[in-house]
Symmetry: C2
């Protein structure tokens, strides 16, 4: 399977103004990692067409997959479709399939605001695989998802089969040493295993350890060799736990 990179663009003044804590980025980060997809960038931008357009265009050009979160409802501050259209220089049009779905769903109480949700950039693809009520709009490599966590999660789950890549393998070492005390060993390990993804994460106030080390690779055998090499470098009495 191919290796894929991804960027997430979160759209919403409510997040930038601290009214709501975004949870979609953390959900996406975990789920994409499980799929073997490398999330390389998360951006939160305001409900403004030029800012959305600029960021979507940048991400579309630099990453394999772009996911947007938020700004797709029927009110004045839902500007994601306009932003995405502007990113690709396309017009906004009423999509007949979406209009039909909306008219069927809101029988007898369709108004202009409801029909706004049928307005999408010209030439989009509608993805309706999985357990979702409305299809997910795709334009080029950009997937437009709603911001409400329950809906975002359902729609991302429905898209998983098409994103799956080779998996990451992970080993973890917990140490009672400070980062300063083990930095040289980490550097030495990377000299021998330059392709290793090696993270060093200090934690304040944990009773059992001071630094968590994560070792990752898409090559299970390479990871195994790097893991055992690092264990030989680290002082034995400082290794609290391995996973």
């Amino acid at each position: 399977m191919p290796d894929r990179t991804c960027a997430l663009v979160v759209i919403g003044n409510e997040i930038l103004s601290g009214k709501v804590q975004d949870s979609n980025a953390y959900f996406a980060a975990r789920e994409l990692r499980k799929l073997g997809v490398s999330l390389q960038r998360v951006t939160v931008v305001p409900d403004e067409v030029p800012r959305i357009a600029e960021e979507v265009a940048y991400c579309s050009a630099h990453f394999d997959i772009v996911i947007t979160s938020g700004g797709v409802g029927p009110t004045h501050d839902d500007l994601t479709m306009e932003g995405v259209a502007a990113a690709f220089g396309r017009r906004i049009v009423v999509h007949p399939d979406l209009e039909r779905l909306i008219r069927n769903h809101f029988v007898g109480r369709v108004n202009a605001a409801g029909l706004k949700m049928a307005e999408v950039p010209e030439g989009v693809i509608l993805n309706d695989e999985g357990d979702i009520r409305f299809p997910t709009v795709q334009i080029e490599n950009v997937y437009v998802l709603p911001g409400i966590p329950q809906l975002f999660e359902a729609k991302l789950n429905a898209l998983k089969p098409r994103f799956a890549s080779d998996p990451y393998y992970l080993r973890t070492i917990y140490t009672s040493a400070t980062e300063g005390a083990i930095a040289e060993h980490l550097n030495a390990c990377l000299v021998k295993f330059p392709e290793l993804m090696l993270g060093s994460y200090p934690r304040i106030g944990h009773p059992d350890y001071r630094v968590k080390l994560t070792l990752e690779s898409k090559d299970a055998e390479y990871l195994d060799r790097a893991f055992h090499h690092l264990l030989t470098l680290l002082p034995q009495d400082m290794v609290v736990k391995i996973e």
Copy 2:
């Protein structure tokens, strides 16, 4: 006081790979809002010098204040200082005041890794106001903060007096209506009060309301007039609560 815009650049593979949920963005969003500072952008970038440099340079050019979070420890994956230096085309140098602080703090156990934390872009300002152990490095309009939440929060709190701007005023309306049912009223309100910051936030599954409306302005009197105007537009029986 001046109106100030701000961007936050979070640096860390652990966040992009879903190992850790960032909390610094939410903390910063809330605290900056209370200060009257407009947070306009949050970005999460990986532990890579070119990506850090590109984002810091963009944010420094577009916003009044830039805050970075993470990547300032002693290990191989702590690359924020290099990234910030590259953003401004500056060299990395050992800062004598930082070196002295580190030698005093780690008496008798200073090593190369510890001293790495004295290496900063040439020409930085050290801010030591407030209740913090080590000063916060500033270069141009960029403030470099650590990623560990306890330290990030302490350092941001210490910087607050210098960021404070005119406050935002906020009113909130909770409605039992759907967004589609009230969208036209929101639009009508914005025609009359175009400067109003008006947010519409649907929530699934809340027992008391369907949509939360937030109205904000830095002009208390303007906000009050817009708030009462919107209340006259909305159907009375749909207004559940006001704050």
